[in-house]
Symmetry: D2
Subunit: 428 residues, 4 copies
C-alpha cells in the first residue's frame, strides 16, 4: 500500500510509478486518439498534472484498500472508522483547504478524490464528504481563528471525526423551519444550551465534533455551533445509530439528540447567520457528490461491460452482442462523460469565484439523477444475477438512490433551478 | 385470525363480516360512483362474487398474518416455512387446480391471491407461486395419475413443499442449452440418474419435492423429473441456500446440486418433451406475477399517499399539495389500474382456452416494468426517509427489480413479443 | 361504397358481408387462439355483436372514403364539410343518443366509431367529436325539448353543423375565468346579447349552430347558449378560420367573435349553471378521444410494422430483425391494447352510471400520452423517410400532440387525478 | 444589417458594438457571477475572444436577417438561395477551412455559427452545413489542388452552391450497399459515366456542384465525384425537389438522378476510397449538428420561458409558477448546457487531432436526442397554442426530429458506440 502523502507528494514521480502498476485501474492509460470507453471525451485532457496525480493517488488507495472491505461492510452495515484516518494519512481529507495541514488542491482535484472513493461506494464517499466538505469546510469558512487552528489539523489527519447536524425529523427539504434551539445559559456567561434532534446524520455515532445548526433563541436566527463530544456532560448529547438502512450501508448514520447541551460561545460561528451558513457547506459537499456519483456510474459501466462480455446466452453469443444491451451501455457512457465535463467546468468556475449555488444544484441534480437512472438500466444486463451482492451493481443502485435524495432532493433542485430560470418561486 | 378455509367457504358470510372489520384494508369498500383511488376504474365490477370472496380471504390473511412478519424476515433474510402451511389451511395453494383437495377457483381468483400476497411482499408471493403454479401446476398438468394422487393433496395443505429447477448457472434466459442430464441407471431398471446444477431456485433449501428439468441422455430432449428428497441417497442431492441477496430477502433461494441422483421412472413426466413442459409451468406462474406485482405497486401507492399527506414541508403544506408529487401518484395509479384490467382480461381468456403464451409475456413484462418504475418514482416522495426500512417502499423497489428479471427478463419478453408481432426472430 | 345506415342496420348481415371483403382491414379476422398483433389481448371478445358491427361499418367507411382524402386535405389544410353529411348518412353522428334519429348505441360502440375515424386522422375525429359529443350531446343533455326536436335530427344527418365555444384566447385550462358575457337585451324581452371571443374552435367557420358558453351578467354564472348563425344580424357573429396549424390540418379550426349577438332565451340551456354544463359535454368527448387515439396509435403500429418488414438494411435484413425496432413495436402494441381495455371498461361503467369524470380524465390523459409517445418512437423506425408525408406517420405524430393538449392538457388531468387521489388541490 | 465580413473582421470592435445593441440577443451579456439561464454553466468562458466575435456576427445576422424570413418560408416550403450568398458575404461558409477565401476559424467557432443558424431554424442550418461541411469540407480534404482552387473560393462566397449525394432510396443507414455506379466512358478517355439515384439530398435542386459518391465499376470501391451541373448534357442529371415534407420545410431537398452522366477524371477525388471519404465529410457535418441543435433547443427554452411568464391561468398566476412547468424548463436548460460543454470539448479535441469518429457519434446522438426530447416537453407548456405556427415551437419540434435521423439515425449511433465500448458489433 502506498504511503505517499498527498499534501507533500512529488506528483511527477507518483504518476510514473502508477503507470507501471498494471493492477491499478487504467486511469489515464489509453492513447489519446482511440476511443476510450472509460473517458470517451477525454476529460482528462482538462486536468492539470497535479490533478491527475491526486486522482491517481486516490484511485489507488480506493481500489487497493477500500474495495476489498466494502462487500462485508455493506452486508454487516458496518463502517470502519479507521478509513478516515487512512484517508487523512494520504491527505485526502479537506483537500481543497489551504493551510491547517490540508493539501490545498483545486476544486476539481477535490472532486477527483470523491470520484475515486465513490467508484468503490457512495457510503464511503459520504463519510468523507461530511468530514471534508461539511465540517472542515464549514469550520474553515465560518469558524474563529482559534477553532480552525485547534480542530482542522486533527481533522485533516482523520484523528478528529466530524458530523454535520442540519436535517431534523420533521424538516428535511425545508431546514429553515428547524426546531433545534440555542438558549443562553441562565447562569454561565458565554455558554449556550442546545436542545433538539437531528436525524440522518452521517458519522454522528462516531463523531468527535458535531457542527450543529440551531436557532438562537434571542434572535430567531440560525447559527452554527461546534459541539465537542468530550465536553458534553452525560445525558446532554446522544448519537444513536440508525440501522437497517436500504442503502449507504457501508456508512454509519445516526441521530443527534441534544438536551440542554452546553456549548461555549467560542464554538459558535461568529458571523454567519441564517441559512447562508449551512447552504454554503452544502454547496461544497454537493460539488463533491456531482463528481463522486460519476465514479459510481463509471464503476457500474465497467461491471456491466465485463458481465456483458463474459456472459453467453443463445448460441454462445455474449450479451454484449445484443442491441438492447449495447444501447444501455452507450447511454450510460454518454451520461457519465457529459456529467464529468460539466462538473469539471463548474469546478473551474468555483475556483475563479464565478460559480453560483444554482450551478451546483444543476450538476448535483443531473449527475445524481443520471447516475441512478443508468445504474438501474445497467443492472438489467445482469438479469437475475444482480440479486447476488457479489456483482456490486445492486449496491450502487441502492446507494445512488440515497445520493439523489440527500443534500437537496432532486425535485427540490428542480424548483431551485426553475426559480433561477423564471424568477418565480414554486415551492409552496 | 380467520380459520375459514377457502375450499369450502360460505362466501357471502365472509364478505359481510369483512366489511364490518374496519381494520382490514377496504378492499371493496368505496361506493361505486365516487372515484376510488384504490380501484380507479372499478376493476372489481369485473369479478364474480366468489372471486371477491377469495380475494378478501387472501387479503385478510396477508394483512393480518404476513405483514407483521415481513420487516424482520427481510432484515434477517429468513423465510418462515410455516407460511406455506398456513396458506394451505386457507386453501390458497394450487387454488386454480380442480380436485386433489384444491379449491378449483378461476384463474383471476388465483391472481387475486397472488396480488394479496405480493401486496405484502414479492418474496412471499414467490414462495407461493413456486409451490402453486410451478410445481403443483406442473405435476397436475404433466404428472402421472399416481404422482398427482400421491403429492398434490399434501402440497395443497402446505405439508409437502416444492421447488422448480430450470435455471442453471450458465443458462438463464436460454434454458434450451441446459446441461443437467438424466442417464438410465446402468444397473437398476426404471431408474434415472440426474446430474447437474440449478441455481436461483426459490424454496430449494426447504423443498421436499423438486421438479427438475434435465436432458434425457438417450434422446437429448428435455424431460421433467420429480425428485423426492426423502428418497435421495446422501451426497446425491444438495440444496445450499444463496445468501446476501439484494431483493426478495423474505423468500428463501438456493441451488440444486445433483450428483447421480436416482429418480424412479414413475417420477418422470410421461409425455411432455422439450421446453413445452417448463414453459407451460412458467406461463401459469407468470400470470400470477402479472397480477401479483399490481399488489406490490398498490401498496407502494398507499404508502406514498399516506406519507405525502402526513409529511409537511414549507409552511406546513403536506407533500401531497406539490404538483410534482401529485403527478407521481397519478401516473402510478393509472398504471396499476391498467395493469389490473389487462390481467383480468387475460385471466378470462385463459379460462376460455384463448390465452396464448405471448399474451402472458405481454402482461408479465408490462406489469413488472410498470410496477418497478412506479415504485421507484413513488420512493422519491419519501426523500431520504425511504432509506429506513420501516417505510417499506425500499423493500418493494428491491423486490420488484427481481420480478422484472425472473421468469423471463423484460428484454427477453420484448423479443418474444417482437417475434410475435413481426414474424421475425431477433434473439441472436 | 356501403349505403348501409347504422341506425337501422341488420348487423348480422353486415358482419358476414364484411368478412368476405378482403380489402377491408381485418378487424375481427384472426382466430381466437393465436396471437393477433392488432388485438393482442382480444379486446374484441368484450364487445357485443352489435358493437362489432358498428365498428365494422365505421371502419369500412373510414378506410374506403376518408383515407383516400386525408393526404391532400392535410397538405392543403382543408376540410371537406361533406364528410359530416356522409357520416350522418351512416348514422355515425350522435350515435350514443337515444331518439331524434340517432342510433342509440352503447358508449363503447360510440368509441369504436371515434377509433375508426381517428385510425385515419385525429382531425377527422375531432370534427366528428365536436358534432356528436360536444354539441349534440350538450343539446341532448341540457337543451329544452323544443331545441332538441328542432336541431338534433338535422345534426344527426350532418345537415346542421355544430361548433362548441368554450376556450377563450386568455383562458384555456381555466375556463371558469371566461370573459364572454351575456346581457339581457335592453329593449327586447327574452333576448340575450352575447359578446366575447372564443378561439381554437373546431368547425366554427362552417358551423350552423354554435354552442357558446358565456357568463350571464345578472348572475355571474356560466350558461350555455345555442347561437344559430342564420339568426345573427350582420356584424354580430364572425368565425374566421385559423390557418397554418402544425397539426390537425385536416380539420377546420377558427375563432368565434361575438359582438352583441342576439340569442333568444329559448336557446339558452334552461337549468344547467356553472362549469357543470361544459364539463359534462367535455366528459363525453374525452371518452371518444380516449378510444379514438388508440385508433391512431394502431395505425402507426401497422404502418411501422409494414415499413420494418419491407425496409432492408445491412445484408438484406429487414429492420424488423433489429432488437431496437422490435422493442419499439412491443411497447406500442402493449400500450395500445392496455388503453383499449381501459376505455372499454370505462365505457361499460358510463352506461351503468358508475363512471366519474376522474375516470375519464384518467383514460383521456393516459391514452393520449401513450398514443403520442409511441407514435413518436415508432416514427424513428422510418428514419429520414418519415419526413415524407406519404408515410402518414408524421401526420399522426403532429395530430396526437394536439389531442394531448385539448380537452384538458395532460398536466391538468394529472392534477385532477392528484386531487382525486389525495383530496388536496394543487392547481395554483 | 451588418456588412462586417468575418474573414477579416476586427473582432474587438465588433464585440463592443454588439453589446451596445440592446435589440440583439444578449449572447454574452450576463455578469459572470449570477445565474444566467441562457448559459447556466458559463460555457462562454471556454471561448476565445475570436470565437465570441464569430458567434456574435453569426447570431446578429441570423436574428436580423433569417428570423424574419423563416415563418413564411416554412409555410411555403421555400428556400431563398440568396441566403447562402449572404452567409458567404459574412464569411460564414466553410469557415473552418484555411485559405481559399475561407475564414480559417476553429472548429468550435464553426460550431457557434451552426448554433446561431439553427437557433433560427434547423433547415437553414442544414443548407449551410451541406455547403460548408459536406461539400466544401470534402473538396478541401480530398479534392485535387486544381479542384480546390477552382471551386472553393466561389463556394465560400456562396456563389457556387453544393449538394452532397450519398444516401440512396434503398440505402440509408447502410451506404456501403450503394448502387450508384461510375463506369469508364467507352470512348472518351478520362471520363466516367455516373448512373444511379440519390435521395433526401439537401440543396440538390439548386446546387451547381454535386459531390456524388459512387462505386467505381472496375474496383467495386466507393469514390467521390464532383459533378458540375453546367457540364452535364441534357438528360444526364436531374434534381427534382421533394415536396410536402413534415420538417425542415425551410430547406430545399431533392433527389439526384444520374443517367450516364459524364464526369471528368479530374473531378474524381484522387485518393480516397471506400466509406472513409463520405464518413470523413459526415464527421465534420455531424459536429456542426451537435452544436447546432443546442441552438434550436436554446430557442425553444427562450420561447417557452417567455410564454410561461406571460401566460396566466388560475387566479392570474403565470404558468411559470407551476412546478410541472418549472421542471420542464430545468431539465431543458440542463441538457442544453451539458450538450454545449461536450461539444466544445470535442471541438477542442478535433483541432488537436484527438477526436475520433465515435466521439462525434456520441455528441451528435446525444445532442439531437436531447434537443428533440426537450423541445417536445417544452412544447407542452404552450398547450393548444403550440398548434399555431406563430409560436415557432412546433417548427423546432418537427425540424429536430429530422436532425435525429439524418447523418446517422440515433439508434445507429448507439450501435456505433456499443461497438466501440464492447468491441462487438451488433448491426445485423
Amino acid at each position: 500500500m502506498s504511503r505517499i502523502i498527498l499534501r507533500n507528494c512529488p506528483h511527477r514521480v507518483l504518476q510514473v510509478s502508477l503507470r507501471r502498476n498494471a493492477n491499478v485501474r487504467g486511469f489515464a492509460a489509453a492513447a489519446a486518439t482511440s476511443f476510450d470507453w472509460e473517458d470517451p471525451l477525454l476529460a482528462k485532457t482538462l486536468l492539470t498534472e497535479e490533478e491527475v496525480a491526486v486522482g491517481e493517488t486516490a484511485e489507488r488507495y480506493c481500489q487497493e484498500r477500500l474495495l476489498p472491505r466494502v462487500l462485508q461492510a455493506y452486508r454487516d452495515e458496518d463502517y470502519d472508522s479507521k478509513i478516515l484516518r487512512e484517508m487523512g494519512e494520504l491527505g485526502l481529507l479537506g483537500a481543497t483547504i489551504q493551510g491547517y495541514g490540508c493539501a490545498g488542491v483545486s476544486t476539481v482535484a477535490g472532486g477527483l478524490i470523491t470520484r475515486a472513493v465513490e467508484r468503490v461506494d457512495s457510503g464511503y464517499r459520504s463519510g468523507m464528504s461530511v468530514q471534508s466538505s461539511l465540517v472542515m469546510g464549514g469550520i474553515h469558512e465560518f469558524g474563529s481563528a482559534e477553532l480552525k487552528e485547534r480542530l482542522l489539523p486533527g481533522m485533516a489527519r482523520g484523528e478528529i471525526l466530524g458530523a454535520f447536524g442540519l436535517t431534523e425529523p420533521n424538516h428535511g427539504s425545508d431546514p429553515g423551519s428547524m426546531e433545534t434551539v440555542a438558549r443562553r445559559h441562565p447562569q454561565k456567561t458565554g455558554v449556550y444550551l442546545l436542545s433538539g434532534a437531528k436525524t440522518w446524520i452521517t458519522n454522528s455515532p462516531i463523531a468527535d465534533v458535531l457542527l450543529v445548526w440551531a436557532k438562537l433563541e434571542e434572535t430567531g436566527k440560525i447559527r452554527g455551533f461546534v459541539v465537542e463530544r468530550k465536553d458534553c456532560p452525560a445525558g446532554t448529547l446522544e448519537t444513536p445509530a440508525i440501522k437497517n438502512k436500504n442503502g449507504l450501508r457501508a456508512s454509519i448514520t445516526g441521530m443527534i439528540q441534544l438536551d440542554n447541551c452546553p456549548v461555549r460561545e467560542e464554538n459558535m460561528f461568529p458571523e454567519v447567520e441564517g441559512l447562508k451558513g449551512p447552504f454554503s457547506c452544502l454547496n461544497s459537499a454537493r460539488y463533491g457528490i456531482a463528481l463522486g456519483t460519476m465514479g459510481a456510474l463509471e464503476d457500474c459501466i465497467a461491471r456491466a461491460r465485463t458481465y456483458a462480455l463474459e456472459r453467453k446466452q443463445f448460441k454462445g453469443n455474449p450479451l454484449a452482442k445484443y442491441q438492447l444491451v449495447q444501447k444501455k451501455l452507450a447511454d450510460a457512457v454518454t451520461d457519465a462523460t457529459y456529467g464529468t465535463l460539466a462538473a469539471i467546468q463548474v469546478g473551474r468556475l468555483k475556483d475563479e469565484g464565478k460559480a453560483t449555488p444554482e450551478m451546483i444544484s444543476l450538476i448535483k441534480r443531473q449527475n445524481c439523477d443520471k447516475a441512478l437512472h443508468n445504474a438501474r438500466v445497467l443492472q438489467e444486463i445482469f438479469g437475475g444475477n444482480a440479486v447476488s451482492d457479489e456483482y456490486g451493481i445492486g449496491r450502487h443502485v441502492a446507494n445512488l438512490y440515497v445520493t439523489q435524495t440527500y443534500e437537496g432532493q432532486s425535485d427540490i433542485h428542480s424548483l431551485i433551478l426553475g426559480r433561477a430560470i423564471t424568477g418565480v418561486q414554486a415551492f409552496a
